[in-house]
Symmetry: C2
C-alpha cells in the first residue's frame, strides 16, 4: 500500500508552538521531508522540530527547490523533487514535510501537495501558527477587533497594493519586510500615520528576536513582519 504525505506547519519559531497533531504525525511518519534551496542547507524548520519531536530512527529527506532564475530549470528541479517523494510513497513510506509558520502562507509545500494529489497519492495538511499570529501574541497586539479588517501584504518592489492597504485598512501586516523598513517608514509618513502605530517583529521566538518600533538603522532578517494598527 502506498504511503501518505502530510504538509506540516511547524509555527513561527518556538518549538512549543507546534500543535499536538504536528508532533504526533512527525513521530509516526517514516520520512521527514525538509525543503532546502541547496543540499546540506541549514533548515530552521528542522531545528524548530528537533527539541520536541523524537526523530530517532527517522529518515531525513532533503527536498531541493533551487531558486533558479530560469523558470524551466526551476520546474524541472521541482518535478525531480516530487518524483523522489513519489518513489518514497510508492515504497509505502509515510512522509511528513515540514514548513515554517503555516502551510497556506507562502510555503512551497502546496506545489508538492498538488503534484502528488494529482498523481493519486493521499495528502493531508496540518496547519501551523503563522508568523503574524506569533508576532501579534509576542507584542500583545490584536490583528483585528470588532468588525475590523486586516490586509496582509508582502513588501515587494511594486508597492501599489501596499499603498492601498495602508490607505483603506485599519490593520495591515507587512510580510518579508526586512529589506524595506526605510521605504515603509516613508509610506507611513506620507500618509501621516504615526510611527508608533507600527511594530516590527523580527525572528520572534528565536534568540535574536526584535520586537519594537521601526528603526531604519537596524539590519533585519528577510522574515521580518511589521504590524501597522492605524487605530493605536
Amino acid at each position: 500500500m502506498a504511503g501518505k504525505i502530510y504538509g506540516i506547519g511547524v509555527g513561527p519559531g518556538d518549538p512549543e508552538l507546534l500543535t499536538l497533531k504536528a508532533k504526533r504525525i512527525l513521530e509516526q511518519a517514516d520520512v521527514i521531508a525538509v525543503p532546502v534551496k541547496e543540499p546540506g542547507e541549514y533548515s530552521t524548520a528542522l531545528e524548530i522540530v528537533r527539541p520536541v519531536v523524537d526523530l530517532h530512527g527517522k529518515e531525513i529527506h532533503e527536498v531541493v527547490f533551487r531558486m533558479d532564475r530560469d523558470v524551466e530549470r526551476r520546474k524541472a528541479c521541482r518535478a525531480e523533487a516530487c518524483g523522489q517523494l513519489a518513489g518514497l510513497l510508492r515504497d509505502g513510506k509515510d512522509i511528513a514535510m515540514i514548513t515554517l509558520g503555516d502551510v497556506a502562507v507562502y510555503s512551497t509545500y502546496m506545489y508538492v501537495n498538488n503534484y502528488l494529489a494529482e498523481a493519486g497519492f493521499e495528502t493531508e495538511i496540518v496547519p501551523g501558527i503563522p508568523s503574524f499570529c506569533g508576532g501579534a501574541a509576542r507584542a500583545q497586539l490584536t490583528l483585528m477587533e470588532g468588525n475590523e479588517s486586516l490586509a496582509i501584504v508582502p513588501s515587494v518592489q511594486e508597492s501599489g497594493i501596499l499603498a492601498e492597504a495602508l490607505d483603506r485598512f485599519e490593520n495591515v501586516v507587512v510580510m518579508k519586510a526586512g529589506g524595506s523598513i526605510g521605504r515603509l517608514k516613508g509610506m507611513l509618513e506620507e500618509r501621516k500615520i504615526p510611527l508608533q502605530c507600527a511594530t516590527v517583529l523580527s525572528r520572534v521566538g528565536m534568540e535574536d528576536e526584535y520586537v519594537g518600533p521601526l528603526d531604519p538603522g537596524r539590519e533585519y532578517s528577510y522574515f521580518t513582519t511589521v504590524i501597522v494598527k492605524k487605530g493605536r
Copy 2:
C-alpha cells in the same frame, strides 16, 4: 505573590490543533477562565480543550461578557469580570483564559489582557491556529503564494471594504459570513468572479463541518468563513 494571566488560543475546533504550549499552560494553571455571554452557557472553546487537557482539580471560572446594546452597561459588565479575575490573581492563582482560534483575531481576551496589564499584573498570550488557516488546510488551499496578498474582512452590513477587497486582492477571506452567503454570491457575480473561486468553510473540525461551494440554500453557523481565490 500575584498570579499571572495567560490568553490561550485553542484553535479552530480539532482538539489536536492545540499547541504544546497551550496544553502545558492549561495543565499548570490553577484557574481556567471561560468567556461566556450568559452564565452557564455552552463553551465551544472548553469542549475543544477537554479531550486533550487534564482538567482534574481545576477551578473553571466563567467570565461573563454580556452583549448588551448599552455601551455603559457593557463596560460595567466587563469591568466587573476583570475585577473578579484581578481578585483571583491577587490570591496568587495563575489563570489561563481560553479563546476560539487565535487570540489576536476577534477575541474578547485582549480587553482583559490590557485591563489587567494596566493594573500591574503579568500577562502573556499564547497564539492559536486561526479559523482561516484551519479552513485553508482542510480545503487544501493556499492563502497566498509567491508575492500575493490577502485581505481578511468580516461580512457586515456596510460592505464597502469587502467590495474593495474583492476588486483589488488576489485572495480574500470573508469571516463571520454565515448570514450573508447570498449577498456574497451576488458580489462575486457582479464582478464576474467565477463561483468556483469561492470555498465555504463552516464548523471545520466539528462533526457537522461543511467544506464546499457557495450554496445559498443551506444554513450556516455564524462562524462560517469563505476563502475567495481569484486565481483559482
